[in-house]
Every structure is written in C-alpha cells, then in structure tokens.
C-alpha cells in the first residue's frame, strides 16, 4: 500500500500506478478490524483466471507498476501462482499481501519461480494468545513459520502489524521479534476505522499515552537498527490535526479491483452510497479509470466545499479521506473531520476521549464472520 512520503515521486500523469487485486474475500481468519466489507460473503462471484489476466494486461498497458495480490486471503485462490507469473511477464512489481495461513514451502517456491518480488505478512502480536484471540483462530505459530519460510526463500519482506489498544504496548517485543526474523520493512499500521474496524472502534482506539510510548520505542529501535530494518509508524489519523493524503487523491494513482470485478478508487469506497462502481466485466479498464463518473467524482478539487476549497493545504492532503468524511459526517464531499479546521472535528476528538475514559463500559468485539452483523443495518456502526 502506498505510504505517505514513501517515495511516490512519479509525476502522476494520472496513471493507476498502484493496482490492488482483491482476489477473494474468503478468509480463514476473523480479524475484528478487517477492512473488507461487512457483507463480504456476497462476493462469491469472483473473477475467473482469464478475467484477472485481462485486468492485468489492461492495467499494465495503462502504466500500472506496483501490484498487490490481496483479499481476503489470496492464497485461497489456486490460480495465484499462475496470476503472479502472468503479472511478472507483463512487467509488474508483484507483492503478495497475506495472513500467512496456507503459505507452504511448495507454494513459496512456486511463486518465487513465477517471479514474485515481495511478500507482506500480517502479524498481530508478539504473543501467541493475544494474536490468536485477535484473529479468532489458532494462527500465531503458522504466521511465524510463514515469516521464517519467507525469509529463507530470500524475499524482501514487509511485516504489517495492525495497531490497536490490545497490542500497542507490545511494540518493543514486536520490534525485537521482527529484528530476529530479519524483516526488511516493519509497518505499524494504525487501524483505520472503516467496516469491521468502525463497528469495534471504541474497543480498539489506543490512548494518547500508549501512542507516545510506542513512538518512543520505535525511535529507540531506529537508532539501534539504522538501515537494517525500515520502520513505518504513522500515528493514527484520529490523533492528528490534519488528515492523511488518502490514496494520494481520489483517482490519482490507486486502483483496487474487488473479487467480483468492481473497480474502486480505494478499497473502502463502497461505503459511500449512491456511487456506481463499474465492473471490469462490463467495461474496458481505461474507460473506467479515465471516464467513468465514479472515478471523476472526487478527482482534482472542483468538488471541494469550505474549508478545503480555499485552504492552502489542499494540494497536500486533498481534503483527506472521502469515506471517512461520509462515515462520520454523512456527506462524502465534506472535509475529513480528522482535520482541525473541519466544523465536525469534535466527532473525532469525542471518539478518542470516550475510548480513554477509565472504567467505561466495554462493548463486545464483533469478529468478522458471515452472520455477525445483520447487513440490513450496514453503515450504522460507530
């Protein structure tokens, strides 16, 4: 996933540089912050191998370079190796984004042979019991074995740790574990509150003190490790005064294709009602990217309202995240309420304050499962 300041210095001639293929929403785990849609089970009509290959060809012809195979769990697709091979032949820099469940030595070898360039593995804690309870399955040992196997095959490796109140105090131990495994990039990915994560927000938001401690641990590790391991630690946007430059702007460099072929300017975009996401089954990708109404909806800055419209910072953050603006303020064209200039900034401040009240009533965590939520009430989370 593109990071702010991670060297995306391509003068975007509006090329979908970053392509993410969500091959399937099926997954053996049940992470309660999962950013897959709440109705993930309604996406069984996955694209076929041939359809995915056509997407790869069309995207590459438009200049796409970085490719992430994600999901759900992409390893559940038996044609993964074949798709990696096709992508490599076309000239993509191929990334596998995986929970590690099902990553056998045989499959690693096959993907290495097919030209896979790097692997991003998610790990939730340095502690077995905490990991297993956070993902709702016995997964820690398998993830650790996968991590070692990935390194022994010589892949550059990103370790992605979604950060929440339950694991943030293990930052020090996670750093040590990552160092011991030989991780190249360690990413403390502060949970972003959409879909399942938004349902469970009050239980996951860390406190300011926790964040400060984690930042200090990261600073010490950077000092010690120098260039051996690159550590990303982005403070959760709820604790910031300015929003993230979400996706580098809508329809600027990022394109996600969902399992059923829907093309999305960002993987969360379906939470915004009233937008129609064309499918690669029905239209050429170039038309979808350049011409379709949805990719132009929030492109550039003509759609902006105040305070963004006249703000000198609009070139830097593009007004923040459209999905967050919708989910929290009810209007996707509003300023992302993470911004201190937003008239609705208090929504974010209040959520942070409420989650930190000592002795507050705990809510049960809703795990990502097919029947966990009645999807008729989708979008009412919070």
């Amino acid at each position: 996933m593109p990071k702010a300041g991670s060297g995306l210095s391509l003068d975007g001639d509006r090329i979908p540089m970053w392509l993410v293929l969500e091959l399937t929403y099926r997954c053996p785990l049940h992470c309660a912050w999962c950013n897959n849609p709440l109705d993930f089970d309604n996406y069984r009509n996955e694209l076929s191998t041939e359809e995915w290959k056509r997407v790869l060809r069309e995207a590459r012809a438009m200049g796409s370079l970085q490719l992430g195979f994600s999901g759900g769990e992409p390893l559940l697709r038996e044609d993964l190796e074949e798709l990696v091979g096709e992508a490599d032949r076309l000239g993509f820099y191929t990334n596998l984004i995986t929970s590690g469940i099902g990553l056998s030595r045989e499959r690693l070898q096959a993907m290495k042979a097919a030209g896979l360039k790097q692997i991003q593995l998610s790990l939730q804690s340095s502690d077995r019991a905490i990991t297993d309870s956070l993902v709702g399955a016995k997964a820690f040992d398998a993830k650790l074995a996968a991590a070692r196997e990935i390194k022994s095959h010589g892949f550059p490796m990103v370790l992605n740790v979604p950060i929440c109140r339950q694991n943030i105090e293990q930052t020090e131990d996670i750093l040590k574990l990552a160092e011991e495994i030989g991780v190249d990039y360690l990413e403390f990915a502060n949970i972003q509150y959409y879909n399942w994560a938004l349902l469970n927000r009050s239980e996951f938001l860390p406190t300011r003190d926790q964040i400060a401690m984690a930042e200090a641990a990261v600073a010490r590790a950077r000092e010690r490790l120098g260039k051996r391991m690159t550590i990303y630690f982005v403070i959760p946007d709820y604790f910031d005064e300015r929003p993230k430059a979400c996706m580098n702007g809508w329809g600027a460099i990022h394109l996600t294709i969902a399992p059923d072929g829907s093309a999305l300017p960002c993987q969360e975009a379906r939470v915004i009602p009233g937008l129609e996401f064309p499918s690669v089954r029905d239209a050429p990708l170039a038309w979808i990217w350049h011409e379709s109404p949805v990719f132009n909806e929030f492109r550039g800055d003509a759609w902006m309202k105040e305070p963004c419209r006249s703000c000198p910072e609009k070139e830097q953050d593009f007004g923040g995240c459209r999905c967050q603006a919708y989910l929290l303020t009810g209007n996707a064209a509003n300023t992302d309420p993470v911004c201190a200039k937003s008239p609705e900034h208090h929504l974010v401040v209040d959520a942070v304050a409420e989650a930190a009240v000592p002795g507050r009533r705990r809510r049960p965590i809703v795990m990502r499962r097919r029947d966990s939520v009645n999807t008729m009430f989708m979008g009412c989370g919070g």
Binding site: P2, L8, L10, G63, L65, Y93, K117, Q118, V158, T230
Partner: protein
C-alpha cells in the same frame, strides 16, 4: 540515521537487493521499484545507478561518466548522489 554515509573513491557501490531498477516505457524513464514504492529517476541518476553493479569502484564510475558526458568533471555531483543513495538505502557499499 546514525550511520556514516560517505562514499570514497575505492568503495564499490551496489544496488540494494530490495530494489529493482529498470526502464519503464510509459514513463519514458528509468524507475526504481521497491516493496513500498516507486521512484522515477532522471537521466543522470539512472546513469549512475546503472553503474552501481558491485564491480566498479566509485572512481571507475566517475571515469566512465566523464568519458560520456564531456562537459565538466562530474565527480562532486556523483559523490553527492551516491551518498544520498546510500543514506536512502538504494545502494550498499562493498569495500
């Protein structure tokens, strides 16, 4: 960064194995691809990095470039660029 990134004449720079350097037709430029991003290189930067093959010393890289770009001695600029590349982790130094 606490490490020393200076590059000396006898150092042998080599592209980091985490990076992939190649020509990209739609961009009409060389790009560096790595797990978390893409960097588009200008012509000079690409010319230097293409010579960071783990065989040539910095002095040999400069001699090679000087023989191609005759306008002025490139050494100061090349050292500066190699040091920046080293600091960014694009290249490693075998000495």
């Amino acid at each position: 960064m606490t490490e020393n990134n200076t590059v000396a004449a006898g150092d042998v720079p080599q592209l980091s194995p985490l990076y992939l350097l190649r020509w990209e037709e739609p961009q009409q430029a060389h790009v560096m691809l790595y797990p978390e991003g893409v960097v588009k290189l200008n012509e000079t930067a690409a010319a230097i990095l293409l010579l960071c093959d783990g065989q040539r010393t910095a002095a040999e890289i400069i001699a090679d470039l000087n023989s191609r770009y005759t306008s002025a001695d490139v050494s100061a600029g090349v050292y500066r660029f190699l040091e920046t590349s080293h600091a960014k982790g694009w290249i490693r130094i075998k000495s």
